[in-house]
């Protein structure tokens, strides 16, 4: 379980500018094995929230309690000198696995994730969707109880993004992990989350906490999905 209690975080302004208050008194809990989607406008402290959960930053006030978390950054950031297989096994190599043992561990996942035949491909030979799948696999295989996903599909085109949302939804259904998914796409949040948390603009605070009681696989045209999307948008201050 992740417990965040009254967390504030302020960054010193650049070159003597005004300090930037990213989060103010933010509280939220995420149950074990729950997928929480956090939505908010750009620059509402979403990335800061993930970095607090991952232990990459300390809060100025309040407390963050979280099991170990692995990050999936916005861009895939695959290493160009490694094959797709070795990129996906990066966390295993860091954990001390020998090269071949790491590859053996990753191989079955390539089949499950529809990456068969691309084991030896270099990142620049992969499509955007495949790169994102390899990047997700890399984070998944770190074996941490919590996955912190930072706008994983923001860089993809609309069609690939829709495919990848369906794919991630299936992948998460099979994996018992606690997931915090940050996105600026309200529809994505409703499609993927067990709960949708809406953050206010800077300084970020939770302004709505919506449970998504819709069976998976979810359709974007499902009236319940459309309604939740409208409620989230209203909470964001966007006229529906």
């Amino acid at each position: 379980m992740i417990q965040i209690d009254g967390v504030s975080r302020t960054f010193a302004g650049r070159r003597g500018g005004e300090p930037v208050e990213a989060l103010r008194g933010l509280s939220l809990t995420v149950a074990t094995d729950e997928t929480v989607a956090v939505v908010g406008a750009s620059g509402c402290g979403k990335t800061t929230l993930l970095e607090l959960i991952c232990g990459l930053q300390r809060p100025d006030a309040g407390s963050v309690l979280s099991p170990p978390a692995a990050l999936m950054p916005q861009r895939d950031l695959l290493l160009p000198w490694l094959s797709a297989l070795d990129n996906a096994g990066l966390a295993l190599r860091v954990a001390g696995f020998a090269r071949q043992r790491a590859r053996d561990q990753v191989q079955p996942w390539f089949e499950r994730f529809g990456l068969s035949g691309f084991e030896q491909a270099r990142p620049y030979e992969l499509s955007g969707g495949m790169r994102q799948r390899v990047a997700f696999l890399r984070t998944l295989l770190a074996g941490k109880p919590v996955l912190a996903l930072d706008e994983p599909f923001a860089a993809l085109d609309a069609i690939t993004r829709a495919e990848m949302q369906g794919w991630l939804s299936r992948a998460l259904a099979e994996e018992q992990r606690t997931v915090v998914l940050v996105t600026h796409d309200v529809e994505e949040a409703v499609l993927l989350g067990d709960r949708v948390l809406v953050l206010s603009p800077r300084p970020g605070q939770v302004v709505a906490d919506l449970a998504v009681d819709v069976r998976r696989p979810r359709q974007r045209t499902d009236p319940a999905v459309v309604e939740l999307r409208a409620r989230a948008l209203t909470a964001l201050g966007v006229p529906a």
Partner: protein, 253 residues
């Protein structure tokens, strides 16, 4: 082939104008030899030129190798230690302002006419570009990538070996390519300060004997050697770091 054509044509045109000017103006070949005079000197003196090129070539290749190893080590030190970076980097910059013309004769005075003072001069000239470009590569690794590795519990040393060092290799090659060009100038200064063979030594002799065509021929050999080194390093880079080129050719997304 297309890429060869424009520089080759430009060279031919320039040499043609030069040749015509020398022929038309009747200028003394001791003052300005024509391209054909230089070509003749190249052919006539090929034995001497080759012999001296071997000396200078060894100095340059060894000098660059020393600078590459030392440059990489110093770049890594500066990368890991903020104290070292703040205290040593300005000194490194200052060291580049010492004129080699002053330093080279002093080194000969201290260390004699052998190989060592040449290696020091060449390595000094090559060291700085290698440190700067390698350090640049080490320091511009994506911060998000470092964060990702931290969530994988990667130690500082692991992150260095797995991500930072491979990221810095293109910078190291860029530095070495710059060094290849500077090294030739360094070698000439070092040999002119005191030596009994080498192209710089030959240049010193031919200039003072007013063998101008021979001096030009020596410069041609030096330039060709610099181009050869540059091309070899470019080739080695493509072989060793194939992703650098492939990535540039294909869109990343």
């Amino acid at each position: 082939m297309r890429r060869w054509l424009p520089p080759a044509l430009a060279l031919v045109v320039l040499l043609g104008i030069w040749e015509l000017y020398v022929k038309a103006s009747g200028v003394n070949s001791l003052i300005l030899p024509s391209p054909t005079d230089v070509l003749r000197a190249l052919i006539d003196d090929r034995g001497t030129l080759w012999h001296n090129l071997k000396t200078t070539g060894v100095e340059i290749v060894c000098g660059i190798a020393i600078a590459a190893v030392a440059g990489l080590l110093v770049a890594v030190l500066l990368h890991f230690s903020g104290v070292a970076r703040r205290s040593l980097y300005p000194l490194l910059v200052a060291s580049q302002a010492i004129p080699i013309v002053i330093l080279a004769p002093l080194l000969v005075l201290w260390l004699g006419f052998g190989l060592l003072p040449k290696l020091i001069v060449i390595a000094l000239v090559c060291f700085f570009p290698i440190v700067v470009t390698t350090l640049g590569g080490l320091q511009t690794v994506e911060p998000d990538l470092i964060k990702l590795l931290r969530t994988f519990d990667s130690s500082r040393v692991q992150t260095f070996w797995r991500v930072e060092l491979p990221s810095a290799l293109p910078g190291l090659f860029t530095g070495a390519k710059l060094a290849a060009v500077f090294s030739v100038i360094g070698a000439v200064f070092a040999e002119q300060a005191g030596s009994n063979s080498g192209l710089g030594n030959l240049l010193e002799l031919t200039v003072s004997n007013l063998e101008t065509a021979e001096a030009f021929a020596t410069v041609v050999v030096l330039a060709a050697f610099a181009i050869l080194l540059f091309a070899l390093l470019t080739l080695a880079e493509r072989r060793a770091l194939p992703w650098v080129h492939r990535q540039r050719e294909t869109p990343t997304r």
